[in-house]
Protein backbone atom coordinates (compact mmCIF):
# COMPACT_ATOMS: atom_id res chain seq x y z
CA UNK A 1 0.00 0.00 0.00
CA UNK A 2 2.63 2.47 1.11
CA UNK A 3 4.91 1.48 -1.74
CA UNK A 4 2.07 2.19 -4.14
CA UNK A 5 1.61 5.56 -2.50
CA UNK A 6 5.29 6.31 -3.07
CA UNK A 7 5.14 5.30 -6.69
CA UNK A 8 2.04 7.44 -7.22
CA UNK A 9 3.74 10.38 -5.55
CA UNK A 10 6.81 9.88 -7.69
CA UNK A 11 5.31 9.30 -11.08
CA UNK A 12 1.90 10.99 -11.15
CA UNK A 13 1.66 13.60 -8.44
CA UNK A 14 5.21 14.87 -8.38
CA UNK A 15 4.11 18.47 -8.84
CA UNK A 16 0.89 18.23 -6.89
CA UNK A 17 0.36 21.57 -5.09
CA UNK A 18 -0.03 19.88 -1.70
CA UNK A 19 3.23 17.97 -2.02
CA UNK A 20 4.98 21.13 -3.18
CA UNK A 21 3.55 23.01 -0.21
CA UNK A 22 4.93 20.30 2.06
CA UNK A 23 8.34 20.60 0.46
CA UNK A 24 8.26 24.38 0.79
CA UNK A 25 7.52 24.04 4.47
CA UNK A 26 10.35 21.54 4.73
CA UNK A 27 12.84 24.01 3.24
CA UNK A 28 12.06 26.46 6.02
CA UNK A 29 12.37 23.77 8.66
CA UNK A 30 15.64 22.49 7.22
CA UNK A 31 17.13 25.98 7.12
CA UNK A 32 16.00 26.66 10.67
CA UNK A 33 17.29 23.34 12.04
CA UNK A 34 20.63 23.70 10.25
CA UNK A 35 20.89 27.16 11.77
CA UNK A 36 20.54 25.62 15.20
CA UNK A 37 23.11 22.92 14.45
CA UNK A 38 25.56 25.49 13.15
CA UNK A 39 24.93 27.95 15.97
CA UNK A 40 27.91 26.78 18.08
CA UNK A 41 30.25 26.95 15.09
CA UNK A 42 28.94 30.40 14.18
CA UNK A 43 29.30 31.58 17.75
CA UNK A 44 32.87 30.32 17.79
CA UNK A 45 33.63 32.16 14.56
CA UNK A 46 32.12 35.32 16.02
CA UNK A 47 34.19 34.98 19.18
CA UNK A 48 37.33 34.57 17.10
CA UNK A 49 36.54 37.61 15.02
CA UNK A 50 35.78 39.60 18.14
CA UNK A 51 39.31 38.84 19.30
CA UNK A 52 40.90 40.23 16.14
CA UNK A 53 43.33 42.92 17.11
CA UNK A 54 42.56 46.54 16.53
CA UNK A 55 45.34 46.98 14.01
CA UNK A 56 44.19 44.00 11.99
CA UNK A 57 40.70 45.39 11.84
CA UNK A 58 42.01 48.77 10.79
CA UNK A 59 44.05 47.15 8.05
CA UNK A 60 41.01 45.25 6.87
CA UNK A 61 38.96 48.43 6.88
CA UNK A 62 41.59 50.21 4.83
CA UNK A 63 41.64 47.40 2.31
CA UNK A 64 37.87 47.37 2.02
CA UNK A 65 37.73 51.14 1.65
CA UNK A 66 40.24 50.95 -1.15
CA UNK A 67 38.28 48.21 -2.85
CA UNK A 68 35.10 50.20 -2.42
CA UNK A 69 36.72 53.23 -4.05
CA UNK A 70 37.87 51.17 -7.01
CA UNK A 71 34.42 49.65 -7.41
CA UNK A 72 32.75 53.05 -7.17
CA UNK A 73 35.08 54.33 -9.84
CA UNK A 74 34.04 51.48 -12.08
CA UNK A 75 30.36 52.11 -11.46
CA UNK A 76 30.75 55.70 -12.58
CA UNK A 77 31.81 54.48 -15.96
CA UNK A 78 29.05 51.90 -15.86
CA UNK A 79 26.41 54.57 -15.41
CA UNK A 80 27.72 56.46 -18.40
CA UNK A 81 27.82 53.28 -20.46
CA UNK A 82 24.29 52.34 -19.41
CA UNK A 83 22.86 55.67 -20.55
CA UNK A 84 24.82 55.44 -23.76
CA UNK A 85 23.54 51.92 -24.29
CA UNK A 86 19.98 53.02 -23.57
CA UNK A 87 20.31 55.77 -26.21
CA UNK A 88 21.53 53.29 -28.79
CA UNK A 89 18.72 50.92 -27.93
CA UNK A 90 16.24 53.74 -28.35
CA UNK A 91 17.78 54.51 -31.73
CA UNK A 92 17.44 50.89 -32.75
CA UNK A 93 13.89 50.75 -31.41
CA UNK A 94 14.69 47.59 -29.46
CA UNK A 95 13.27 46.52 -26.13
CA UNK A 96 14.35 48.49 -23.11
CA UNK A 97 16.87 47.04 -20.76
CA UNK A 98 15.44 45.01 -17.96
CA UNK A 99 16.01 46.63 -14.61
CA UNK A 100 17.55 44.32 -12.05
CA UNK A 101 17.49 44.25 -8.31
CA UNK A 102 19.72 42.19 -6.09
CA UNK A 103 18.79 40.42 -2.89
CA UNK A 104 21.73 39.48 -0.69
CA UNK A 105 21.42 36.03 0.83
CA UNK A 106 23.48 33.51 2.73
CA UNK A 107 23.82 29.82 2.02
CA UNK A 108 22.35 28.18 5.09
CA UNK A 109 22.41 24.50 4.20
CA UNK A 110 23.60 22.06 1.57
CA UNK A 111 21.47 19.15 0.41
CA UNK A 112 22.93 15.89 1.75
CA UNK A 113 22.18 14.15 -1.54
CA UNK A 114 25.63 13.58 -3.08
CA UNK A 115 24.23 13.24 -6.60
CA UNK A 116 22.80 16.75 -6.64
CA UNK A 117 24.24 20.22 -6.23
CA UNK A 118 21.48 21.88 -4.29
CA UNK A 119 21.86 24.52 -1.59
CA UNK A 120 19.41 26.24 0.73
CA UNK A 121 19.63 30.02 1.04
CA UNK A 122 18.19 32.10 3.83
CA UNK A 123 15.79 34.28 1.81
CA UNK A 124 12.33 33.25 0.71
CA UNK A 125 9.02 34.49 -0.64
CA UNK A 126 8.85 37.06 2.15
CA UNK A 127 11.98 38.70 0.78
CA UNK A 128 10.86 38.55 -2.83
CA UNK A 129 12.68 35.38 -3.87
CA UNK A 130 10.73 33.40 -6.47
CA UNK A 131 11.31 30.21 -8.39
CA UNK A 132 13.45 30.67 -11.47
CA UNK A 133 15.42 33.67 -10.28
CA UNK A 134 19.14 33.49 -11.00
CA UNK A 135 21.63 33.21 -8.15
CA UNK A 136 24.92 35.05 -8.51
CA UNK A 137 28.20 34.53 -6.73
CA UNK A 138 30.97 37.08 -6.50
CA UNK A 139 32.49 36.17 -9.81
CA UNK A 140 29.56 35.02 -11.86
CA UNK A 141 26.44 32.99 -12.16
CA UNK A 142 25.97 30.22 -9.60
CA UNK A 143 22.55 28.75 -10.22
CA UNK A 144 18.85 29.36 -9.93
CA UNK A 145 16.05 29.10 -7.41
CA UNK A 146 13.98 25.93 -7.75
CA UNK A 147 11.75 26.10 -4.69
CA UNK A 148 11.03 29.06 -2.48
CA UNK A 149 9.60 28.64 0.98
CA UNK A 150 8.44 31.51 3.11
CA UNK A 151 11.77 32.31 4.70
CA UNK A 152 14.30 30.30 2.75
CA UNK A 153 14.61 28.72 -0.66
CA UNK A 154 16.37 25.96 -2.46
CA UNK A 155 18.70 26.73 -5.34
CA UNK A 156 20.26 24.37 -7.86
CA UNK A 157 23.83 25.12 -8.93
CA UNK A 158 24.82 25.29 -12.59
CA UNK A 159 27.03 22.22 -12.20
CA UNK A 160 24.14 19.96 -11.12
CA UNK A 161 23.85 17.24 -13.71
CA UNK A 162 20.18 18.08 -14.30
CA UNK A 163 20.93 21.71 -15.08
CA UNK A 164 21.66 23.37 -18.38
CA UNK A 165 21.72 27.00 -19.40
CA UNK A 166 22.02 28.97 -22.64
CA UNK A 167 25.39 30.66 -22.97
CA UNK A 168 27.38 32.65 -25.45
CA UNK A 169 31.09 32.83 -26.10
CA UNK A 170 32.00 36.38 -25.16
CA UNK A 171 34.67 36.69 -27.84
CA UNK A 172 32.86 35.32 -30.85
CA UNK A 173 29.19 35.53 -29.92
CA UNK A 174 28.78 31.80 -30.55
CA UNK A 175 25.72 30.48 -28.75
CA UNK A 176 25.61 27.12 -27.00
CA UNK A 177 24.18 25.24 -24.03
CA UNK A 178 26.32 24.62 -20.94
CA UNK A 179 25.29 21.51 -19.07
CA UNK A 180 26.21 20.67 -15.52
CA UNK A 181 28.48 17.66 -15.17
CA UNK A 182 27.89 16.69 -11.56
CA UNK A 183 31.42 17.81 -10.70
CA UNK A 184 31.82 21.25 -9.13
CA UNK A 185 34.57 22.41 -11.46
CA UNK A 186 33.23 21.25 -14.80
CA UNK A 187 30.57 22.34 -17.24
CA UNK A 188 30.07 20.51 -20.50
CA UNK A 189 29.27 22.13 -23.80
CA UNK A 190 28.10 19.45 -26.14
CA UNK A 191 26.86 19.43 -29.70
CA UNK A 192 29.12 22.17 -30.97
CA UNK A 193 30.25 21.53 -34.53
CA UNK A 194 33.94 20.83 -35.02
CA UNK A 195 34.34 24.09 -36.89
CA UNK A 196 32.87 26.17 -34.04
CA UNK A 197 34.89 29.20 -33.06
CA UNK A 198 35.74 28.36 -29.47
CA UNK A 199 39.15 28.27 -27.79
CA UNK A 200 40.65 27.47 -24.44
CA UNK A 201 40.38 30.53 -22.19
CA UNK A 202 37.23 31.92 -23.77
CA UNK A 203 34.80 33.49 -21.35
CA UNK A 204 31.27 32.12 -21.51
CA UNK A 205 28.48 34.51 -20.55
CA UNK A 206 24.73 34.02 -20.28
CA UNK A 207 23.10 34.64 -23.63
CA UNK A 208 19.70 35.64 -22.32
CA UNK A 209 17.91 33.22 -24.62
CA UNK A 210 14.98 31.54 -22.97
CA UNK A 211 14.44 34.53 -20.73
CA UNK A 212 15.43 32.76 -17.53
CA UNK A 213 18.88 34.27 -17.12
CA UNK A 214 19.48 37.88 -18.17
CA UNK A 215 22.25 38.20 -20.74
CA UNK A 216 25.82 39.13 -20.05
CA UNK A 217 26.63 37.47 -16.73
CA UNK A 218 29.88 35.51 -16.70
CA UNK A 219 29.34 31.79 -16.31
CA UNK A 220 32.51 29.87 -17.03
CA UNK A 221 35.87 29.82 -18.74
CA UNK A 222 36.73 27.21 -21.34
CA UNK A 223 39.41 24.81 -20.10
CA UNK A 224 39.52 22.19 -22.77
CA UNK A 225 38.50 21.90 -26.40
CA UNK A 226 38.87 18.48 -27.96
CA UNK A 227 38.19 18.15 -31.65
CA UNK A 228 38.70 14.50 -32.51
CA UNK A 229 39.49 13.90 -36.16
CA UNK A 230 36.49 12.65 -38.09
CA UNK A 231 33.98 13.38 -35.33
CA UNK A 232 31.06 15.70 -35.95
CA UNK A 233 31.09 17.47 -32.61
CA UNK A 234 33.75 19.09 -30.49
CA UNK A 235 33.98 18.22 -26.81
CA UNK A 236 34.28 21.36 -24.75
CA UNK A 237 34.60 21.63 -20.99
CA UNK A 238 34.63 24.78 -18.92
CA UNK A 239 35.21 25.74 -15.31
CA UNK A 240 32.64 28.00 -13.59
CA UNK A 241 33.99 31.48 -12.89
CA UNK A 242 32.48 31.62 -9.42
CA UNK A 243 33.87 29.22 -6.85
CA UNK A 244 30.74 27.24 -6.12
CA UNK A 245 32.03 25.61 -2.96
CA UNK A 246 33.59 28.67 -1.36
CA UNK A 247 31.94 31.51 0.46
CA UNK A 248 28.52 31.65 1.97
CA UNK A 249 27.17 34.81 0.46
CA UNK A 250 25.19 34.92 -2.75
CA UNK A 251 22.96 37.38 -4.59
CA UNK A 252 19.54 36.61 -5.96
CA UNK A 253 18.71 38.54 -9.08
CA UNK A 254 15.26 39.98 -9.23
CA UNK A 255 14.36 41.41 -12.60
CA UNK A 256 11.45 43.79 -12.41
CA UNK A 257 10.41 43.16 -15.98
CA UNK A 258 10.89 39.42 -16.01
CA UNK A 259 7.56 38.65 -17.61
CA UNK A 260 8.71 40.71 -20.56
CA UNK A 261 11.77 38.56 -20.94
CA UNK A 262 9.85 35.32 -20.66
CA UNK A 263 7.22 36.05 -23.25
Amino acid sequence: MLALLCLLALFLYRDHPRLTALQKGAVDVVAFATGIILAPADAWARTLSAMDSNSELREELLRLEQENRVLKGRTQRLAALLTENARYRALLNSARDIEEQLIAAKISAISPDPARHIVVIDKGVQDGVREGQPVLGEEGLMGQIILSGDFSSRAVLITDSAHALPIQVNRSGLRAIAEGSGALDRLLIRHLPISADIRVGDLLVTSGLGGRFPSGYPVARVTEVIKPGGAAFAMVTAIPTSALDHGRFVLVLQSTAQSEGES
Binding site: A3, L10, R14, Q23, A26, I37, I110, P112, A115, R116
Partner: protein
Protein backbone atom coordinates in the same frame (compact mmCIF):
# COMPACT_ATOMS: atom_id res chain seq x y z
CA UNK B 1 -1.27 0.31 24.98
CA UNK B 2 0.76 -2.81 24.59
CA UNK B 3 3.82 -1.20 23.06
CA UNK B 4 4.14 1.90 25.13
CA UNK B 5 7.54 1.10 26.58
CA UNK B 6 9.78 4.03 25.78
CA UNK B 7 8.66 4.55 22.20
CA UNK B 8 10.18 7.98 22.43
CA UNK B 9 13.64 6.37 22.49
CA UNK B 10 13.08 4.85 19.06
CA UNK B 11 11.74 8.03 17.54
CA UNK B 12 14.41 10.09 19.22
CA UNK B 13 17.22 8.00 17.75
CA UNK B 14 15.63 8.06 14.30
CA UNK B 15 15.24 11.84 14.54
CA UNK B 16 18.91 12.06 15.48
CA UNK B 17 19.73 10.20 12.28
CA UNK B 18 17.78 12.78 10.27
CA UNK B 19 19.40 15.67 12.12
CA UNK B 20 22.89 14.33 11.40
CA UNK B 21 21.94 14.53 7.71
CA UNK B 22 21.54 18.28 8.12
CA UNK B 23 25.15 18.93 9.07
CA UNK B 24 26.52 20.69 6.01
CA UNK B 25 29.55 19.02 4.45
CA UNK B 26 31.65 20.30 1.56
CA UNK B 27 29.88 19.45 -1.68
CA UNK B 28 32.45 16.95 -2.89
CA UNK B 29 32.81 15.01 0.37
CA UNK B 30 29.12 14.43 0.96
CA UNK B 31 29.28 10.93 -0.44
CA UNK B 32 31.51 9.86 2.44
CA UNK B 33 28.75 10.59 4.94
CA UNK B 34 27.45 7.33 6.41
CA UNK B 35 23.73 6.84 5.93
CA UNK B 36 22.85 7.07 9.60
CA UNK B 37 19.11 7.09 8.95
CA UNK B 38 19.20 3.69 7.29
CA UNK B 39 21.63 2.28 9.87
CA UNK B 40 19.48 3.33 12.80
CA UNK B 41 16.36 2.05 11.09
CA UNK B 42 18.03 -1.31 10.38
CA UNK B 43 19.13 -1.57 13.99
CA UNK B 44 15.63 -1.09 15.33
CA UNK B 45 14.09 -3.45 12.80
CA UNK B 46 16.61 -6.07 13.80
CA UNK B 47 16.20 -5.48 17.52
CA UNK B 48 12.46 -4.90 17.75
CA UNK B 49 10.85 -6.28 14.59
CA UNK B 50 7.42 -6.20 16.23
CA UNK B 51 7.58 -2.45 16.72
CA UNK B 52 9.59 -0.96 13.88
CA UNK B 53 8.69 -1.95 10.36
CA UNK B 54 7.64 -0.86 6.93
CA UNK B 55 5.53 2.10 8.09
CA UNK B 56 8.43 3.58 10.01
CA UNK B 57 10.64 3.07 6.96
CA UNK B 58 8.08 4.90 4.84
CA UNK B 59 7.93 7.98 7.06
CA UNK B 60 11.68 7.99 7.49
CA UNK B 61 12.12 7.95 3.72
CA UNK B 62 9.71 10.85 3.34
CA UNK B 63 11.65 12.78 5.98
CA UNK B 64 14.86 12.08 4.14
CA UNK B 65 13.38 13.30 0.86
CA UNK B 66 12.12 16.47 2.47
CA UNK B 67 15.58 17.21 3.79
CA UNK B 68 17.31 16.37 0.53
CA UNK B 69 14.78 18.17 -1.60
CA UNK B 70 14.24 15.18 -3.84
CA UNK B 71 10.77 14.15 -5.05
CA UNK B 72 8.76 12.67 -2.20
CA UNK B 73 8.81 8.91 -1.92
CA UNK B 74 12.17 8.43 -3.61
CA UNK B 75 14.06 7.17 -0.56
CA UNK B 76 11.05 5.43 0.97
CA UNK B 77 10.75 2.53 -1.42
CA UNK B 78 14.37 1.40 -1.05
CA UNK B 79 14.18 1.59 2.73
CA UNK B 80 10.87 -0.28 2.75
CA UNK B 81 12.19 -3.12 0.59
CA UNK B 82 15.29 -3.44 2.76
CA UNK B 83 13.07 -3.48 5.83
CA UNK B 84 10.95 -6.27 4.41
CA UNK B 85 14.10 -8.31 3.74
CA UNK B 86 15.26 -7.68 7.29
CA UNK B 87 11.88 -8.54 8.76
CA UNK B 88 11.82 -11.90 7.06
CA UNK B 89 15.40 -12.75 8.03
CA UNK B 90 15.99 -11.05 11.36
CA UNK B 91 16.34 -14.26 13.34
CA UNK B 92 19.11 -15.46 11.07
CA UNK B 93 20.90 -12.12 10.89
CA UNK B 94 20.91 -11.78 14.67
CA UNK B 95 23.04 -14.93 14.86
CA UNK B 96 25.71 -13.57 12.54
CA UNK B 97 29.03 -12.43 13.93
CA UNK B 98 30.15 -8.83 13.56
CA UNK B 99 31.80 -9.15 10.15
CA UNK B 100 28.95 -11.14 8.65
CA UNK B 101 26.44 -8.68 9.98
CA UNK B 102 28.32 -5.71 8.53
CA UNK B 103 28.45 -7.49 5.21
CA UNK B 104 24.73 -8.14 5.40
CA UNK B 105 24.14 -4.46 6.12
CA UNK B 106 26.26 -3.58 3.12
CA UNK B 107 24.10 -5.82 0.95
CA UNK B 108 20.94 -4.20 2.31
CA UNK B 109 22.41 -0.75 1.71
CA UNK B 110 23.24 -1.65 -1.87
CA UNK B 111 19.74 -3.02 -2.32
CA UNK B 112 17.97 0.05 -0.97
CA UNK B 113 20.15 2.60 -2.68
CA UNK B 114 20.14 0.54 -5.87
CA UNK B 115 16.37 0.75 -5.94
CA UNK B 116 16.58 4.48 -5.28
CA UNK B 117 19.04 5.07 -8.12
CA UNK B 118 16.90 2.99 -10.44
CA UNK B 119 13.84 5.08 -9.54
CA UNK B 120 15.87 8.24 -10.08
CA UNK B 121 16.61 7.08 -13.60
CA UNK B 122 12.92 6.48 -14.09
CA UNK B 123 11.87 9.99 -13.13
CA UNK B 124 14.87 11.85 -14.54
CA UNK B 125 16.51 12.89 -11.30
CA UNK B 126 20.32 12.65 -11.47
CA UNK B 127 21.50 9.35 -10.00
CA UNK B 128 24.69 8.84 -8.07
CA UNK B 129 27.71 7.55 -9.94
CA UNK B 130 29.58 4.40 -8.96
CA UNK B 131 31.64 6.41 -6.50
CA UNK B 132 28.46 6.44 -4.41
CA UNK B 133 29.39 2.90 -3.40
CA UNK B 134 32.13 4.36 -1.18
CA UNK B 135 29.42 5.90 0.97
CA UNK B 136 27.70 2.53 1.31
CA UNK B 137 30.94 0.85 2.40
CA UNK B 138 31.52 3.63 4.93
CA UNK B 139 27.99 3.09 6.19
CA UNK B 140 28.56 -0.64 6.57
CA UNK B 141 31.76 0.05 8.51
CA UNK B 142 29.76 2.29 10.83
CA UNK B 143 27.32 -0.51 11.57
CA UNK B 144 29.20 -1.96 14.55
CA UNK B 145 29.70 1.29 16.48
CA UNK B 146 26.10 2.31 15.76
CA UNK B 147 24.85 -1.08 16.93
CA UNK B 148 26.90 -0.83 20.10
CA UNK B 149 25.65 2.65 20.93
CA UNK B 150 22.02 1.86 20.16
CA UNK B 151 22.14 -1.41 22.08
CA UNK B 152 23.42 0.41 25.15
CA UNK B 153 20.77 3.06 24.61
CA UNK B 154 18.03 0.45 24.24
CA UNK B 155 19.04 -1.47 27.37
CA UNK B 156 19.51 1.68 29.40
CA UNK B 157 16.00 2.91 28.67
CA UNK B 158 14.56 -0.60 28.56
CA UNK B 159 12.96 -0.25 25.18
CA UNK B 160 11.17 -3.49 24.45
Amino acid sequence: MAHSEASWAIYFSLACGLIVMLVPLPVESRLLRPDFVALILFYWVLALPHRVGVTTAFFLGVGQDLIEGSPLGLSSIGLMVATVVLLSNYQRIRQFDAAQQSLMILVLMILSSGIEQWLRDGINVPAASWTGLIGLVVSALCWLPIRQVLRYFRRYYEVT
